[in-house]
Symmetry: C2
Subunit: 443 residues, 2 copies
């Protein structure tokens, strides 16, 4: 179960704020459920947790087993929504130290999500002479970052295993019908998985985009989908009172009342990268037309000793959304110190998670006292069911919230701006006219 | 050389903004140089790059050699400024994959910077049965997070090596004269290094706090100090026109004109954690009395596919400070594809760093067009000299900027709030009275 607690935000919310947006919420819910409204061609994620392609799902599980048997490393090539979801889920359910920890599943390297030659070269070095496979994730096959990385790793595979051996180790997650990567995969006979037409990148973690790398890491993707499905059912059953609807209404009201930054806070380092996924989800969905909460994330208690001062006493811009897990995966008891040098013997024998929990509670009170509305999301533990629920909870809240804001939550028109400039500066055919003008501005 | 380019922020700045704060800048400069003004008992970092303790510096280098010879892993226990600087420098000069890459220096694990039992247990697992040493960094020795972790790892060392063996492997960076850890280190005979009284945590990376772990990673700390010293000289020589003074004046003017978020952007994944150090530096120095730019950081081009949409078209809250390196450590040439599947053959034979550079230039133009003032800091490459300069550049700018804002840049009164609540909820002796009241509020 996912539990939402709005009480530590209550004193910052005007009475009746939820009722005031009830009609808009009902409308947004209707739009999402029936694929009407703004961005209606990108709401395939809404029913995905139950209406997914079962045949492909079984192929994903089989491919994951094959990769596990055949390779010591998997290179996942993708950018934005094509890697954030998988990396977030693997880190939160396994660990940010997944590669370094003992395990019987392959190491996973995320490549093609930037243009750093040092970062690319390091992955080549870390793979070394071990057996590896590649999952290239790109709807078009022409996005610069993943395309360049794919050239490099495809070359490596073909040199190591020959062309026939390489095609047995390349998995293409791409468009079902068209595009450069689809064409290549058909021609070469790569195993193919689909980036659905009606699911945008930032909502794609529960498609093959996220599921194949997640399954390779040994995570139970059926349980993950079941968690998401349960959360979807809540959204359907309680259009106005689901956790997603409540969260959407509260954060929208706080935005309207003048808050401009939302901080997602976790108290487990394994949750850090989930914050990156969340920032894309909300930032890209709402950050348009001069609107939207600026999304930021922190890793407590570490960041209480860095960002804590600002949150407590800086500009009063922020609301804070906290995700906590009731139980850790392992308990550590605090050892006794006969000399009690640090004065902490009052904690002897207590578990570290008990101390962490009091830090969560103490921080909530401190931040509310400091003028920062808190919203607390509680999950039982870091397992597939909880994370499936959390993903869907945020996705549905984001769809609702974007509609409350009056924007199309499913487009990203601003992402093209840097790309166009970059192509022109690189001298890409077709962009010649712009190059001189841009170079002149850069002088 | 560190080069600052304010031209892509110019159109957002009122004419004469720099002249208008000249007197205040001169005053702030004077305060920093002569240890007068607000927070004057915490400006030891100003002259540190030249006036550091040479004897201790040599001991740091010797201790690093001893750790390298004796151990396969070093556990660095510290929170906030006691780990962010070391981790940032090791990641940017070595790699975020430092532990996973082939090398002849020990793995480094950062512990005691949070209260997650899973994270702590993972470090124990990753050390396994390898030889290891511990560097405990705590001014007082009583801060909960590092103190608990120190109990755990001290126990491990004593079980593995006996009490005598353990004391040969524990390095205590702590107060010179007093405190719980100082007392223990004296009694046990640990090698000791000093957290100076006049250097706050967030300014301590160039003291033993940061230097010992950095040296263990094989980084040339003399070159790092020399870079910082060169930057300090520029600040002294050009009180009003140093890069730090210019940056402080520009970001202050942008803050005054209504900007409320500053984003630090890098184009190398190895720079990601430097952003965390920077967020503490500025957030903790300026975020008080309801003031200060909210500090955020991004890792481009990856985050152009997540936060890029918001930056381009969301609320116009932001200024962006970009750090770029002219040369990567390794060059990767883009392979040819005879079939030109991805249409990128116009890049064949070009280096990836050339493409990255055009992304940097294209992004700058796009964001300025989108209404986001850009400030660009250029360094030759990811080496000790550059990073030493960059650290001092930001530190001095932060000192100036805090004074322009009219706050004490060197205190952090808000950090205590969560701790006090946590102690009360944990039932710490002396906090009994508050516990019941806090529990009642949490019901």
């Amino acid at each position: 179960m996912l539990h939402l607690d709005l009480s530590p935000a209550q004193s910052f919310l005007a009475p009746g704020y939820h009722d005031q947006c009830k009609d808009k919420l009902a409308q947004a819910h209707q739009w999402l459920q029936t694929a009407t409204g703004l961005g209606n061609d990108f709401v395939g994620w809404v029913h995905l947790p139950v209406e997914y392609d079962k045949e492909e799902f079984a192929r994903i599980q089989a491919a994951a087993k094959k990769i596990q048997a055949q390779s010591k490393a998997l290179v996942v090539i993708g950018i934005g929504g094509s890697y954030l979801g998988a990396r977030a889920v693997i880190e939160v359910l396994k660990s940010p130290n997944y590669n370094a920890l003992p395990k019987d599943t392959p190491d996973i390297y995320f490549a093609g999500n930037g243009l750093s030659s040092d970062a690319l070269q390091e992955i080549v070095t870390m793979i070394g002479d071990r057996d590896f496979s590649v999952n290239i994730i790109s709807k078009s096959g022409t996005t610069t970052e993943p395309a360049v990385a794919f050239r490099v790793f495809k070359d490596m595979l073909e040199k190591k295993y020959g062309k026939d051996g390489a095609r047995e180790r390349i998995y293409a997650t791409t468009d079902a019908a068209r595009g450069a990567l689809k064409g290549l995969a058909d021609k070469e006979g790569y195993e193919e998985f689909v980036v659905p037409d009606d699911v945008g990148g930032r909502f794609s973690v529960l498609t093959a985009v996220g599921l194949l790398p997640i399954a390779v890491a040994g995570i139970d993707i059926e349980a993950l989908m079941a968690g998401a499905a349960a959360q979807r059912q809540e959204c359907i059953d309680q259009p106005d009172a689901s956790a997603s609807a409540q969260y959407a209404a509260a954060r929208h009201a706080l935005f309207e009342s003048g808050k401009s930054v939302e901080i997602l806070a976790g108290f487990e380092p394994s949750f850090r990268f989930f914050g990156e996924w969340w920032k894309q989800l909300f930032g890209e969905s709402e950050g348009k037309e001069g609107k939207g909460l600026f999304p930021a994330s922190v890793d407590f208690t570490a960041d209480l000793h860095s960002m804590g001062q600002y949150i407590q006493q800086g500009q009063r811009l922020m609301l804070e959304t906290v995700v906590r897990f009731e139980k850790p995966l392992t308990e550590v008891a605090i050892p006794n110190d006969p000399d009690n040098v640090d004065g902490l013997n009052f904690l002897t024998g207590k578990t570290l998670s008990y101390v962490n929990e009091q830090a969560i509670r103490g921080t909530r009170l401190a931040h509310v006292d400091g003028g920062v509305p808190n919203i607390v999301i509680t999950l039982p533990r870091r397992d597939e069911d909880s994370i499936g629920r959390l993903i869907y909870f945020f996705e549905y809240a984001c769809g609702l919230s974007g509609h409350l804001l009056g924007v199309n939550p499913f487009d990203q028109p601003g992402v093209e701006a840097y790309k166009k400039n970059m192509f022109a500066l690189l001298g890409k055919p077709g962009y010649e006219d712009q190059k001189a003008a841009l170079e002149a501005r850069l002088k």
